[in-house]
Symmetry: C5
Subunit: 234 residues, 5 copies
Amino acid sequence: MSSNFMKASDLVAAGFSTALLALACAAVLLLVGTGWVRRGWKLPVLLAAIAALAGALSTQEARNAWIATAATPLDYFYACWFVSMPLQIAALYFAVRQAGALSVALFWRMIGITALMVLVRYLGDAGYMNATLSFLIGIILWLYVLGELFFGRMDEVVAKSRMPVLRRGYFWLRLIVAIGWAIYPLVQFLLSSGNVVSSGAVSLTYSLFEFPNRIAFGLALLAIALIESPEDKP
Amino acid sequence: MSSNFMKASDLVAAGFSTALLALACAAVLLLVGTGWVRRGWKLPVLLAAIAALAGALSTQEARNAWIATAATPLDYFYACWFVSMPLQIAALYFAVRQAGALSVALFWRMIGITALMVLVRYLGDAGYMNATLSFLIGIILWLYVLGELFFGRMDEVVAKSRMPVLRRGYFWLRLIVAIGWAIYPLVQFLLSSGNVVSSGAVSLTYSLFEFPNRIAFGLALLAIALIESPEDKP
Amino acid sequence: MSSNFMKASDLVAAGFSTALLALACAAVLLLVGTGWVRRGWKLPVLLAAIAALAGALSTQEARNAWIATAATPLDYFYACWFVSMPLQIAALYFAVRQAGALSVALFWRMIGITALMVLVRYLGDAGYMNATLSFLIGIILWLYVLGELFFGRMDEVVAKSRMPVLRRGYFWLRLIVAIGWAIYPLVQFLLSSGNVVSSGAVSLTYSLFEFPNRIAFGLALLAIALIESPEDKP
Amino acid sequence: MSSNFMKASDLVAAGFSTALLALACAAVLLLVGTGWVRRGWKLPVLLAAIAALAGALSTQEARNAWIATAATPLDYFYACWFVSMPLQIAALYFAVRQAGALSVALFWRMIGITALMVLVRYLGDAGYMNATLSFLIGIILWLYVLGELFFGRMDEVVAKSRMPVLRRGYFWLRLIVAIGWAIYPLVQFLLSSGNVVSSGAVSLTYSLFEFPNRIAFGLALLAIALIESPEDKP
Amino acid sequence: MSSNFMKASDLVAAGFSTALLALACAAVLLLVGTGWVRRGWKLPVLLAAIAALAGALSTQEARNAWIATAATPLDYFYACWFVSMPLQIAALYFAVRQAGALSVALFWRMIGITALMVLVRYLGDAGYMNATLSFLIGIILWLYVLGELFFGRMDEVVAKSRMPVLRRGYFWLRLIVAIGWAIYPLVQFLLSSGNVVSSGAVSLTYSLFEFPNRIAFGLALLAIALIESPEDKP
């Protein structure tokens, strides 16, 4: 895969490699799993699979950049988040729609705001926007998404649904978006602006948080979909 | 994927990376989605998937060339457009054919004129043809395609069809070809001739326009096809 | 894909890139299309898909060699032809067998003679055989294949068949083998011997002729197969 | 695959190459085999396939690092084990669940402890933790997993099941985890700490043990699943 | 695929390239073909597909090593043979089992002895074992495999079977193992020991023998399986 190699033990590169392998494995598992669930569940599982795939592709590049130059421009991470986070919100939306009607406007609002959140944070980190402003707007947009998930129509539909597995699963998926995704504004806050090239500690943190944020998210969704898909309809 | 890496934050490379990831994700989504729609809709969805795939492959090369040399020959973009634009017009044709009969001659005319449009623009940009002449011929050919889409037999078939989703979807798909694709003659006009190697601003523009022109186009087509495919015929 | 990049506009590299993208797209389209046709048509479509795949793989290498060294050894082209041309003849044979019985001996004769034709031409071009002799033997072998296609048992079976689409399609497929494939002895004749490393003009010619010879051939075959496969047997 | 090449015979590189090829072949065989077994068996077979895939990806990188630098940082191996070993324990869990009920808590306990075991060993080998302590904790965690497999609820369920093939297969799968996986603490013990960069002998040992630990494990699971899946339910 | 390129015509590299393309094409054809045959025939066809895939992967590396260094360590060939030859013997075993019962012990004996044969030859060629001894043991192990194929239980089962196509196919498959595989001890004998790095002539010979030994073997198996699989059970 890469044409440059670790020459000694390197905790950051090992973290990247492990996240890369785990993301690739999760993507394959979810892709194949798409074939085992009911038609309604195929789309959310596939979206989570593609989010893991995007994570794997950009983690590979981030790792190779780290091994070659001992620095990872945040661009690699942001490219991934800009694609995978809206995909995951879309996966949540289509999962909840299995339990009840959701407006199309809600879909566009949540997708658009998630993408905007990542874009604003990137502009801040890369110095194209005031760092504090970027941080604040990013927080507000994120809180809006959390608001929809915790108090909006989606929560309502899930609470009323007769799918206990979905209720329990939605609890965990929502938690990942609330707790796991909190690492991104947190790191942005701690680093302040101008730190566009990631140090080893930040890279390692971001690699490790792929496990809950992309992999556990996808596996939880697949588990819900498998339990909700009766055996005799493969 | 690449053996050269960004060393600092780079807006153009980040734009390329994001477009690449999004195109690859869209291609996988559409390819898998091909399996979920009625047989008649499989072909248009697959053609849109392949157009996204062609976009992903050439965006990857354009990005790597940018990172390595800080310049992207327009050849990379034109190779993509020469393949993906006729594929998208073909996808539109086969989508509309779900609603009524279309002549085979129309298919060949539209495919051929779209390919010719890209070729003429390339010859102008690369200096093998007078730039103004290339621009004018390119515009005329594009207007012909738009004429067919807005006032020709395809519009007629869609207007008469009993598929409200197709009518609404056709409106948006046609708009992408009319508004989104306008960026190509616009940039050509602004740059005048002789600018065969793309600057960062042009590269970033072209990357961003992959989102409406290839990705939104494909997703809209998949959405139409999914709604038109009854659940019990997977 | 490649680790070396165009630095300025390059018509030959652009031709290679476009042929590469188009061949890859055609291969994916034909591979997926294999799943949409009747069982008897699966094999010919798959063989045409694999011929396009072989074309894509060797075009990629030929292009990268061109970008790196501004010369393309003919070996890259011959490796492709040695594999893809017999595959295409086999695709024709299995397509015609849908309409009537064909002897197994005919299959081996046509495959063997096509492979021999490519081998003899390579030996001539690479200087391992007298160039004129290689040219003449190559022509004779090609004429034999054309003879079988135009006046042999295959023509007879198609003419008698009750599949009008196959009759019309066979007309075009045969024409590609007769007119499109004529470029190979023609270039060999024009260059005379000793020109084992391809100039840009020859490379561009060979790239462009991938469009009729590999891509149009495969798409025509898929179109025949799709029309001959009833909708209710997907 | 790699851009650096062996120049002479190299037993370690040959071992890596053979393990890489065999792991890739096993991954393809298991992935395709997933389609041939009953729905309940699909998940364990897929998990074993993904474990082999993870093994193939990291063996490729470890080999290329060896050819380029004549040393393989243990990071490559640990990244593989951290992903593939929990996957294999999960495969065992889901295989046994075909025969009877198993608690979800057991699943999380076994997965978590297996991942912890690999992590602790890595921290010891890489010098982030006292080597003896790492070795001891690693042994204890491994013994816990073996205890669950040999004397816990899983053994109970298998012993009571009416699937003789599963009983026999479980015997072998458990043996691989007990005997095959013993190589990892053994090598760790022999090398003592500080030897983070693998010598040739250790690399060759680890390559060879991919054959029982990943490949034979997966093939045994596929064999069980195929025999337990009746022919008429493909 | 490779980052180094031929600069002039090179018969050895052309041989490698052609074998690589043909092996990749055969692998795709056999993999897709797996979906067209009866369940019992899926496994042997898949095993032959994987053997071709292993051949393609190692031929690519051997070729790239040849282009870069004008020498191919035999390690590349032996890694391929160690994986693909047992796979092919396993394919033969599972093909014959379609016609009658075969003991599991026979399977392990044949697989193990084939792998041992390749290992012993490698140890001899690489100088880890006396060359004459290695040659003799290799011959004896090969003769044992041939004995099982020509006079053992497998021959008995095929001779008694009511599948005329299998009888005829088995004749050819067995012949490939007897005549085609004879090239390996022959070259070993002619080179004597110590010649671990392959000259061009040996590399070309090994490339060409991939055609009967891997490709024709797989295609023959697929042909048998297709004829034995009734059309109405796809």
